[in-house]
Subunit: 369 residues, 2 copies
C-alpha cells in the first residue's frame, strides 16, 4: 500500500553518479574523478569532454562518499560562547560567507558557558570529522579541547591557546581600543571611571580588565577595587553590575563595559534611577555590534571587527588544513580594535569644557560617520 516508489523522482533512486559520467564521456571513473578534482595530469581535450558529460547528465559528486574515502569532510567547526549574544551571529555570518566561498560548510555550536554542553559539542564535531575548529569564545577551559588537540585537528583560538604545531591564535589588541576609550573619557574630564568585566574565569575577560587597568595607570588615574565589578557578558549581568556599583560606591562619572550587551544592561539600570546618560554617567561598550548605534543614546564603543576576526580565522584554519596553503607557518594573527564615539559619552556634569573640545568636534577618536 501507499506510494510505490516506482517513479523516477524519488531522491533515493534518482542520483546520477560518477559511473554515468564515465560511460557518457567514454572514460574510466578514475579520470572523471581526476577531472572533477582538477588534477592537472589529464589531457585538456579529454577534460573538456568529461565536463561536457558532467553537465549533460547533471552530475553532482556525493559528499558522503567523498568524505568517507578522503577522510576530509570539508566542514569547519565554529564554537562560540552563545548564539543569542548578537556579537556572535555577526561573526558567524562573516565566517560562514568566507568558509562557503572556499567550499566548506560550517558546523556552529554555542558552549553557553557549560562544560557538559561544550564537551558534547566537541564530540559531535569529531564524529562529523570536521576538518578544523575555530574556538571563538570569550575563553574556554583547556581540558575541554584536549581531545581536539590530541587528535591534531587544526585549531584556531582567540587570545590564547596551547603552543603546538597546528594551533593558531588570533591576538586581539584590546589595549589599543581600551586605551582610546580611557583617553577619550579622560579628555572629557572624567576621573572616576568604573569597569564592568566579563566572568573572570574567562581568559578574555581578564585580559580586557587588565588592559583597562593599564590604560588608567598610564594616565595616573587610580582604580579602587570597588570600581571594577564582575559581569557576565549579558544584559542582565550588566544591569546587576551597574546596580551593585551604584549601591556600593555611588555613581561613577563613566563606565566602560566589557561588551555591548553589558552596556545595554547598564543603560537599562541607569534608566531606572535619576541618573541620565550621558549627562550624569557616560557609558562605553565593547564589540560594536550593529545594535550599538540604535541604542538610546547611541553607544560609544570599542570596535572589534567581526570581519577581520572571521577572515583571520578562516585563513588560519586553511593554513592548517590545506598543505602548502600558507608557506609561512604563521602562528599569530593580530586583530586591531578602535574606539567609535557616539552619544553615550559626554562631559561629566559640572565640568567646564575648557580642556576638551565642544561636543561634535574632534573628541579623541573616530567619530561615527
Amino acid at each position: 500500500m501507499g506510494r510505490t516508489n516506482k517513479g523516477t523522482s524519488n531522491r533515493h533512486h534518482a542520483a546520477v553518479n560518477i559511473h554515468d559520467v564515465a560511460k557518457r564521456a567514454r572514460v574510466s571513473i578514475a579520470t572523471v574523478s581526476r577531472v572533477v578534482n582538477r588534477i592537472p595530469t589529464v589531457d585538456e581535450e579529454l577534460a573538456k569532454r568529461v565536463w561536457k558529460a558532467i553537465d549533460e547528465v547533471g552530475y553532482v559528486p556525493n559528499t558522503q562518499a567523498r568524505a568517507l574515502v578522503s577522510g576530509r569532510s570539508r566542514i569547519l567547526g565554529l564554537i562560540v560562547s552563545e548564539i543569542t549574544n548578537p556579537f556572535f551571529p555577526e561573526l558567524v555570518q562573516e565566517f560562514e560567507n568566507l568558509a562557503v566561498a572556499q567550499g566548506y560548510e560550517v558546523m556552529i555550536g554555542p558552549t553557553n558557558y557549560d562544560a557538559a554542553r561544550t564537551e558534547s559539542l566537541i564530540r559531535r564535531m569529531m564524529q562529523r570529522s570536521v576538518d578544523g575548529v575555530a574556538v571563538m569564545t570569550f575563553g574556554i577551559e583547556e581540558q575541554l579541547v584536549q581531545k581536539l588537540v590530541e587528535q591534531e585537528f587544526p585549531l584556531v583560538f582567540v587570545d590564547a591557546g596551547p603552543d603546538l604545531p597546528n594551533i593558531r591564535v588570533l591576538k586581539v589588541n584590546y589595549g589599543e581600543g581600551i586605551r582610546e576609550a580611557v583617553q577619550h573619557l579622560a579628555a572629557l574630564g572624567h576621573r572616576r571611571i568604573a569597569f564592568i568585566s566579563g566572568p573572570l574565569r574567562m581568559r578574555t575577560a581578564v585580559t580586557r580588565r587588565d588592559a583597562f587597568r593599564k590604560s588608567m595607570g598610564e594616565l595616573g588615574l587610580t582604580v579602587p577595587d570597588a570600581s571594577i565589578v564582575e559581569g557576565n557578558h549579558t544584559m542582565e549581568g550588566g544591569k546587576a553590575a551597574m546596580e551593585q556599583l551604584l549601591a556600593e560606591s555611588g555613581p561613577p562619572t563613566a563606565v566602560i563595559c566589557s561588551n555591548d550587551m553589558t552596556a545595554i544592561g547598564v543603560l537599562h539600570a541607569l534608566d531606572e534611577t535619576k541618573y541620565r546618560v550621558p549627562k550624569d554617567v557616560s557609558v562605553v561598550g565593547f564589540d560594536d555590534i550593529h545594535l550599538a548605534q540604535f541604542m538610546l543614546p547611541p553607544l560609544t564603543t570599542v570596535q572589534m571587527s567581526c570581519k577581520a576576526l572571521a577572515m583571520a580565522a578562516v585563513e588560519a584554519l586553511r593554513a592548517g588544513i590545506e598543505p602548502g596553503h600558507s608557506k609561512a607557518a604563521k602562528k599569530e594573527w593580530p586583530i586591531p580594535t578602535r574606539l567609535v564615539v557616539r552619544r553615550s559619552t559626554d562631559f561629566p556634569r559640572g565640568t567646564l569644557p575648557a580642556l576638551a573640545q565642544a561636543p561634535g568636534g574632534q573628541r579623541g577618536a573616530a567619530v561615527d560617520e
Copy 2:
C-alpha cells in the same frame, strides 16, 4: 622532512572501526551493526558482550560511512531570513537543542532576502543530503524551494506552503496577538494607530498587516492608507518608516510594528524628534525577542514563542523523515501569539484615564512579570 606521521596519535590512522569491535566481541560486523542500531533480533547476552567491546575499544561509528550506505545524513536544514536579526538566533538555539536531542545536526543558512544566495544555500543542503528542511523565513519565493519539493524532501514551512504529502505547515495565529495589541491600544484611548509592515513581497508581512486591518475594523477604527508604511524588518527600515510616517501625516498616537527590530528603529527615530515614548507615541513590537525588555522604554510586544515554533518544526520534520513516527498525517501545526505589555505603551497625551485603568493595573493583556 616534516612530521613523519608514524605516531599513533594522528587522527588519520587512529580510528577504531566496526571490525575491531567485531573481533573483540567475537562476532561478525553485521551483528555489531545490529547492536549499535538497536535492532531487536539480537540475543540479549550477545548484545551485552558487544556493548562491552564497544566501550573497551572506544568505538564511535563513522558518520560518513553510515550516511553513504543508508542515504540518510542525520542533518536537518534550517533556512532563516537573516542570522543577524536577534529573533533568529533564538529560534536557531531552540531548534538546535531539540534536533541534537534527537541525534540530528543542524545546517543553518540565511537567505538574506537574496534569491541567488538562497538558491546556492538550497543546493548546498541537497549536496549534503539533509534529511529534511525547515524553511523558517518571513516568506520565500516558491520557485526557489521547487527542487526540494521535486525531490520529495520532508519540508516544513511557516504560514503557507504547497499542499503536498511530505510538506507540513506551521500556522502562526497572528490574529490573536495583533488583536490583543490593537484592543490594548484602543482601551488606552488610541484611535490613530499606524502600522509598519515587513516587505510586502513576503507572505508573512502581508498576513500580519491584514491581521492588523482586521482587528482595527472589528473595533470600528478606520485605517487610512497613509497609516500603513512598508518597512523591511530591520532597525534601519523601522527608522525610515517612522520618519516617513512623521513627514507625511504627522505623528500617530500609536504604532504597531511588524517585528521588534522595526520597533527599535522606531524608538530611535522618535528619540530624534520632540515626541516621547510612550507619552506622545505608543510603540508595539512583534516577536518578543529577549532584547525587547531591555529597550528604553521596555517594549510592549506580541510574543511569538520560539520554543513552540522550534518544537513544532522538529516534530513535523521527524514525522516526515522517520516512518511511523507520527501516526496522524498531521499537516498543520498551530502556533499561538499573545501580547506582552511593558512600558512603551500608555494613554495618549491629553486623554483622561476615564475608560481605561490606571497604568500598572490590568491593561488588557498579560503584563510582563
